[in-house]
């Protein structure tokens, strides 16, 4: 089942589009060459020799020198609906996703109230069918009201269309509760996504515990607050034969914990965020919460290198932004008081391209694969450029330089961790679920940027 069929987005006419002379790259489908990418009625019709595709009844885009990737999929975003629409909503959040080259996202359930009932899921799905410019799947909470005590009606939530379950934002403190959820998962399915943090260890911490927190006098969140919980939960998943997805890995010890769980045959997947792959806790010396305060926190260079290695060797199968919009007044306060989280959808690919691909740390092929690696852990089909597939395409200019935030954001919030940075590589156009979901304003029909 295609992404658009499995998830929800605004319905519309399938696009007829020819990306003429694009460098098409889809490592999973074995596609790497210059083609006319022909999209007819919202599906990839053909990868034709450059200049040969018939343009009748189709929009033609001069894509010479541009890259066409399968559009990206983010299994971890906060759309803030219901309850926090002053930060983001389905329309603005999916516009941000489209601007970042995404064709699909999974929305977290830590809203106000949390997404805990079938009616909540149904209302969100209906809103997505009216407002979403990319496909959206909704997770429901594992526990009622995210209180960590009683399970939600997981089977009824699945019937209503919940893609999976997560109390993200908070850890599941109780091993008993997670164990029951994993047992119940055999009845209802649905991956359980886990925010791993032992609150007894993270306490009032606001950044990674280490030399930088010592220098700044900020309370630290030790790496073991994450890795010990991953080890616990991997053991529970193993014992109950359950399926778990570990969210936003940040520490080297956590990569080790997932790697050994995988080696032991546990059904565990995990994600890393662009900010954890590109930045370290050294950034916190600026005491700028707008860009550098999030949970889990930015960690040391050793941790960052371990995440990169985990991404390379497949321990970490996907890049997820943990896009977490916050209003200005929640961030224009001293570091310790500021809300946790940064936005990332609009910059994820460009930041990783700039910081990790251009310097030769990661191969472009690997990044393109991992940017959509979040579909499979939730049982979704990954976007593909193979002829016959639903058209989900990110058209990128890998040479374009731009300053983040200079032209504003599609997101309602501007707490981007890349704010003010110059990045190389930009999404010019996104096709999601067969429809044109985004065009960069300065990029239109036949006009190179």
């Amino acid at each position: 089942m295609s992404l658009a069929a499995a998830l929800d987005m605004r319905s519309g006419e399938g696009a007829d589009l020819i990306l003429r002379g694009a460098r098409a790259l889809d490592p999973v489908a074995g596609i790497d060459g210059t083609h006319d990418v022909v999209i007819r009625a919202g599906r990839i019709a053909e990868l034709a020799s450059p200049g040969t595709a018939d343009a009748a009844d189709a929009e033609e885009v001069d894509a010479a020198g541009l890259h066409a990737f399968p559009a990206f999929f983010d299994p971890h975003v906060h759309l803030r609906t219901p309850g926090h629409e002053h930060k983001e909503d389905i329309e603005t959040g999916t516009r941000a996703a489209a601007a970042g080259g995404y064709c699909g996202v999974l929305a977290m359930a830590n809203t106000d109230p949390p997404v805990s009932t079938p009616a909540d899921i149904e209302a969100l799905r209906e809103a997505a069918r009216e407002q979403a410019s990319v496909s959206v799947g909704f997770l429901a909470t594992v526990t009622r009201g995210m209180e960590g005590e009683e399970l939600t009606e997981m089977a009824a939530l699945r019937d209503a269309g919940a893609l999976g379950f997560s109390d993200d934002g908070l850890p599941l403190r109780s091993a008993r509760v997670l164990r029951r959820a994993l047992q119940y998962q055999h009845l209802c399915g649905g991956t359980i996504a886990l925010h791993e943090e032992d609150p007894e260890l993270s306490g009032a911490g606001v950044m990674h515990e280490g030399p930088v927190s010592a220098a700044l006098g900020l309370a630290g969140i030790p790496s073991v607050s994450e890795s010990t919980m991953i080890a616990r939960d991997a053991a529970l998943a193993d014992y109950e034969d359950g399926r778990i997805h570990v969210q936003h890995l940040s520490a080297a010890e956590s990569v080790d914990a997932v790697r050994s769980a995988k080696a032991a045959g546990v059904a565990i997947s995990c994600e890393a965020s662009p900010h954890h792959l590109c930045l370290t806790d050294e950034e916190v010396r600026s005491l700028d919460p707008q860009r550098f305060k999030m949970n889990p926190p930015l960690r040391s260079e050793t941790d960052r290198q371990a995440l990169i290695e985990g991404l390379r060797d497949g321990t970490i199968e996907c890049i997820a932004t943990d896009h977490a919009p916050h209003a200005a007044e929640e961030k224009e306060v001293p570091f310790e008081q500021a809300a946790m989280g940064v936005t990332g959808l609009e910059t994820a690919f460009a930041a990783i391209h700039t910081d990790l691909v251009l310097p030769g740390v990661l191969d472009l092929d690997l990044v393109v694969e991992r940017m959509a690696g979040g579909a499979a852990p939730f049982g979704l089909e990954r976007p593909s450029l193979a002829p016959g597939s639903e058209a989900n395409v990110a058209l990128c200019d890998l040479g374009a330089q731009w300053t983040v935030g200079e032209e504003g954001y599609e997101s309602r919030s501007d707490n981007s961790w890349c704010a003010g940075r110059e990045l190389t590589g930009r999404v010019l156009m996104t096709v999601a679920g067969g429809q044109v979901a985004y065009r960069l304003r300065s990029f239109s029909l036949g006009v190179a940027p």
Binding site: P211, A214, A215, L216, G217, G220, L287, P334, F335, Q337
Partner: protein, 319 residues
């Protein structure tokens, strides 16, 4: 020097300039009329979000002795308690066109944020557990009078380093002036990774005899309930500085207020080695020097006639 936000942003030369200036103000304190007209017509705002006795009173008296107009705002009873954001409070106060804002805040980086919003010179009078640079400067001043140079001297900072902004500012200050520093305390109260700041770390007072100066930190009673130390008695047994542990040639300092019988024995406080009252006296003249260096020495012009008569922008309306 535009602001005084932290010791780690100061060079040795800048520090020495402030200490030299403080020396010149010492004489003012010996006059009958202890006031100079240096900052006449300038406004100093003192904005304290945390209780403080010696820091706020010495900054305020310093401003008055320099003839500045003083606006003093304490957290109790002001707009601060009515939920106004720091940014809005600073915007309101900026309408008075202050030359300097002295701020104490319970969170790290607050002074730096204010510096980004205000035209005034910003003086960090303590931000969370981060920095307390005027304390470090007055401590350097006190030590310079006693020892001359700190080059090659050994200083032990003893106690609750984890929760102490004084420890962080003084560690940086002592090092930039050429001293070697050992931080000492129970492992629960020494931040992980602090050795990266270039200090030695000790979990006992063994070796304290090698110190030229012993700088004791205040031990707060609530640390017990958070299981940082099992009891104040056990803390005192291992880390209290008393006259048995303190040698006759060693100097003793403390930022105040002292818990007698906890981090220091009463005898040690009153001993000839103690510089504690000298520290308080130095606080006033060093803070006069800080205000002078940031306002007058920078040649910041006094407000012209008629200027400052603009209406303050009401909160909630675009500036």
């Amino acid at each position: 020097m535009r602001h005084l936000l932290g010791i780690d942003q100061l060079s040795r030369e800048e520090i020495e300039a402030i200490l030299d200036r403080a020396e010149s103000f010492a004489e003012v304190g010996r006059r009958d009329i202890k006031k100079v007209p240096t900052l006449r017509g300038r406004t100093v705002v003192s904005l304290f979000y945390e209780a403080s006795t010696r820091t706020s009173s010495s900054f305020e008296l310093a401003a008055k002795r320099l003839s500045a107009d003083l606006v003093s705002i304490k957290a109790g009873g002001s707009a601060v308690d009515k939920g106004e954001s720091l940014k809005d409070t600073v915007a309101t106060l900026s309408a008075y066109d202050p030359s300097a804002i002295v701020i104490r805040h319970p969170y790290a980086g607050a002074a730096q944020m204010v510096a980004g919003w205000a035209e005034a010179a910003v003086i960090n009078a303590g931000d969370g557990k981060h920095e307390h640079p005027s304390q470090a400067l007055l401590d350097l001043f006190t030590l310079r009078r006693r020892l001359g140079s700190l080059e090659g001297k050994r200083i032990w900072i003893v106690g609750d380093v984890l929760h102490s902004r004084v420890a962080r500012s003084n560690l940086a200050a002592f090092q930039v002036m050429g001293a070697g520093v050992t931080v000492c305390g129970p492992p629960t109260l020494i931040p992980r990774g602090i050795e990266a700041l270039g200090c030695e770390v000790s979990h006992s007072l063994d070796g304290l005899e090698g110190a030229d100066v012993v700088y004791a930190l205040r031990m707060q009673k609530e640390r017990m309930t958070e299981s940082f130390v099992p009891s104040l008695r056990e803390y005192a047994a291992h880390f209290q500085i008393d006259t048995r542990r303190l040698g006759p040639r060693q100097l003793l300092m403390h930022p105040g207020p002292v818990n007698r019988g906890v981090e220091l024995s009463g005898e040690a406080v009153d001993s000839p080695q103690s510089l504690i009252t000298e520290q308080v006296a130095a606080g006033l003249i060093v803070r006069m020097a800080i205000l002078y260096e940031l306002i007058a020495a920078r040649g910041r012009p006094a407000p012209a006639e008629g200027e400052g008569a603009e209406q303050p922008t009401p909160i909630g309306q675009p500036a």
